[in-house]
Amino acid sequence: MTNQTSDVLDVTDLRTYFPVRSRGLIPRTIGAVKAVDGVSLSLDAGETLGLVGESGSGKTTAARSILMLVRPTGGSVKIDGEEITDLSARKLMPIRRKAQMIFQDPYNALNPRHTVGAIITAPFKVQKVVPPGGVKKGVLELMERVGLNPEHYNRYPNEFSGGQRQRIGIARAIALRPKLIVCDEPVSALDVSIQAQILNLLRDLQKEFGIAYLFVAHDLAVVRQISHRVAVMYLGKIMETAPRELIYSRPLHPYTHSLLSAVPVPDPKRQAHRKSRIVLHGDLPSPIDPPSGCVFRTRCFQAQERCAVEVPPLVELAPGHHVACHFPIAVEDLPARAEVQALTADDPQEATPDVQIVSREEAADGAAGAAGKGRGAQEEALDEGGAAEEGVSLNKPRA
């Protein structure tokens, strides 16, 4: 990707691995979950890059690694030209003025004991910035700008609906006029009508302040609405990245094809006519033991022998259109109805992709054991032949 210094965000070969420990008498590191494995991307001012993927693709971990909320294992992250991977928490403080984050669940991301005013005031206080006209005036203006009633300054987050809470989160994020906002599934918890309001708000703010968005989402239609460019992730790697028009009209990676064809369209006539639907079978393979060669090959209708041996590099097939595939395929060449039957067969060798060792994103984000109420409940590997004794468990990464 480009290496211009003008980029707001420049990520090169980002890798975030979580150690996997064995369960013997003496636990030792026996491998790593490569949650993010060699991701490179860049963002210009005022641009939106959509980062798309299923759960377990590593998109959320990538987003958090970029803001050093999860420390990456390797690679480089430059924000506004400054390398930040080696910075201590204290030295990151000035960077946080430039790069902010919006979360999926606005409720969990807001302190329930703080008033809306206090929440939006916090960035000014922490960074010791006083906007023209004073902090209070600045906060009231922000509230107005994101569509909150300034009279609600003294209310608490629980008095607001989901959409309004997301507006609070947005006001907090834009308070210091950052150059970059990482949005982690910002609308997926919201109702349809509210979702559209928030998307419009984000777009307006971008135009007004020239903010760059890294927009992480699983909903392809939403991403299409807001992004200038789109990157598709699968099992920690970028499969395809291209300008929006290209990726939706001329996708080349088989995975992108299957993602696009799986999205239901709210039009019964078109649904009925859509014959060339690619149905992916099985689930994401385990990120602890990803397939050799191309990580997507176990579910790919294009897969051939070469895919098991050689990792396909991300190459530029058209201007700005990068694809990591040995056998890219254009829309018009798609088979009428592509399916991969092998994976549903009761062949124990092929059956494992359906089972996951870890609960996807959760584990990749290091929240191993969060699934259970029990003390230290952990996800179990139901590996081949039920050999559970020497399985693996995930350890919390340093966060």
Binding site: S193, Q195, L199, V263, A377, L382
Partner: protein, 362 residues
């Protein structure tokens, strides 16, 4: 069928042409007492489904769609909520049925699958045992036979290496696999009615496609009637025969899927359809969302519940939208709409909006 007294309907909204619907709900009310007063979660819902068909109930959070489904299923806790109205399933009324008989129907005649397959399966029991329990709750067959049947069903819903997975615990399976287990458990007693409450919301889009295909396939095989609760208009277009749109505890529009997507008449439906970012149309510069927020179920507007968010209420002469609750009326055969606007006006609005949507953007 008895006619409801408040509504000037000759019968109930019956979509489709069958003489006697398989399931019909008549003037269903569900009321919860809360600290802030009574909440009318469901306020006079009437609908019907033909045998073997799929009815989708669409709505946003708080619209009452899930409570409606749970009321049909018999899952609304009668200790804390009041349920009135009639629910007829294949000639049998359910609301006034004794609890014992309701239990006999649940899991046997009516089954349900839920949004989150992880939390819906008991974490302490093996999936096979949980399905066996569902069989033996209704049929007196031996454990070995029930287990054989379970294994067959697990294979049938596409669980690879089912003979091994049958002894797995839920946390050992992926989200998609867990939802397949839930489906296997729901269909194990060949119920006539399957209620699917947001069955794919927690799943990835590729897995979502698999699960929807599975439900459609099994529906074809077993002749099951399906009620699909969802907020996703894309899924509805994909699988439903008829759609009921709910807002503020009421059905605001009820039609066949093609009719509803072709020419939605209720401004709310129209707003929903134009709020969704779509992959099949030109990209609009901005989305055209419904403004404002859904109403609080405790303080519903006096007139039309949608009026505060409606762009067209001023076209209705007088103040009807502010003061009078509109009724659900038949605007065309099998197309029911709850709106004060004149039919012709509504149709014109829908045509105009669709025109803009289709032509907008890049």
């Amino acid at each position: 069928m008895t006619a409801t007294s408040e509504e000037p309907l000759s019968g109930m909204p019956i979509v489709g042409s069958a003489d006697r619907p398989f399931l019909s709900v008549n003037d269903l009310h569900v009321t919860f007492p809360t600290e802030d007063g009574l909440v009318q979660a469901v306020d006079g819902v009437s609908l019907s489904v033909e045998r073997g068909k799929t009815l989708a109930i669409v709505g946003e959070s708080g619209s009452g769609k899930s409570v409606t489904a749970q009321a049909i299923m018999g899952l609304v806790n009668r200790k804390s909520a009041t349920v009135t109205g009639e629910i007829w399933l294949d000639g049998q009324e359910l609301i006034n049925l004794p609890q014992r008989e309701v239990q006999e129907l649940m899991g046997m005649e009516i089954a349900m699958i839920f949004q989150d397959p992880m939390s819906s399966l008991h974490p302490f029991y093996r999936i096979g045992d949980q399905i066996v329990e569902a069989i033996r709750a209704h049929r007196s067959i031996g454990k070995a036979a029930a287990r054989r049947e379970t294994l067959e069903m697990l294979q049938h819903v596409g669980i690879p290496a089912a003979e091994r997975r049958i002894d797995a615990y839920p946390h050992q399976l992926s989200g998609g696999m867990r939802q397949r287990v839930m489906i296997a458990m729901a269909l194990i007693n060949s119920p006539q009615l399957l209620i699917a409450d947001e069955p794919t919301t927690a799943l990835d889009v590729t897995v979502q496609a698999q699960i929807l295909e599975l439900i459609a396939r099994l529906q074809g095989e077993f002749g099951t009637t399906v009620i699909l609760i969802t907020h996703d208009l894309g899924i509805v277009a994909d699988v439903a025969d008829d759609v009921a749109v709910m807002y503020g505890g009421r059905i605001v529009e009820l039609a066949s899927t093609t009719t509803l997507y072709d020419l939605p008449e209720m401004p709310y439906t129209l707003g929903l359809l134009s709020s969704v970012p779509r992959m099949d149309q030109k990209l609009p510069e901005r989305l055209d969302p419904i403004r404002g927020n859904p109403p609080s179920p405790i303080r519903l507007p006096k007139g039309c519940v949608f009026q505060p968010r409606c762009d067209y209420w001023q076209r209705v002469p007088g103040e009807a939208c502010l003061t009078v609750r509109p009724d659900l009326l038949e605007s065309d055969p099998d197309h029911w709409v709850r709106c004060h606007l004149k039919v012709e006006e509504r149709k014109q609005i829908a045509r105009d909006v669709k025109q803009i949507l289709a032509g907008g953007g890049e």
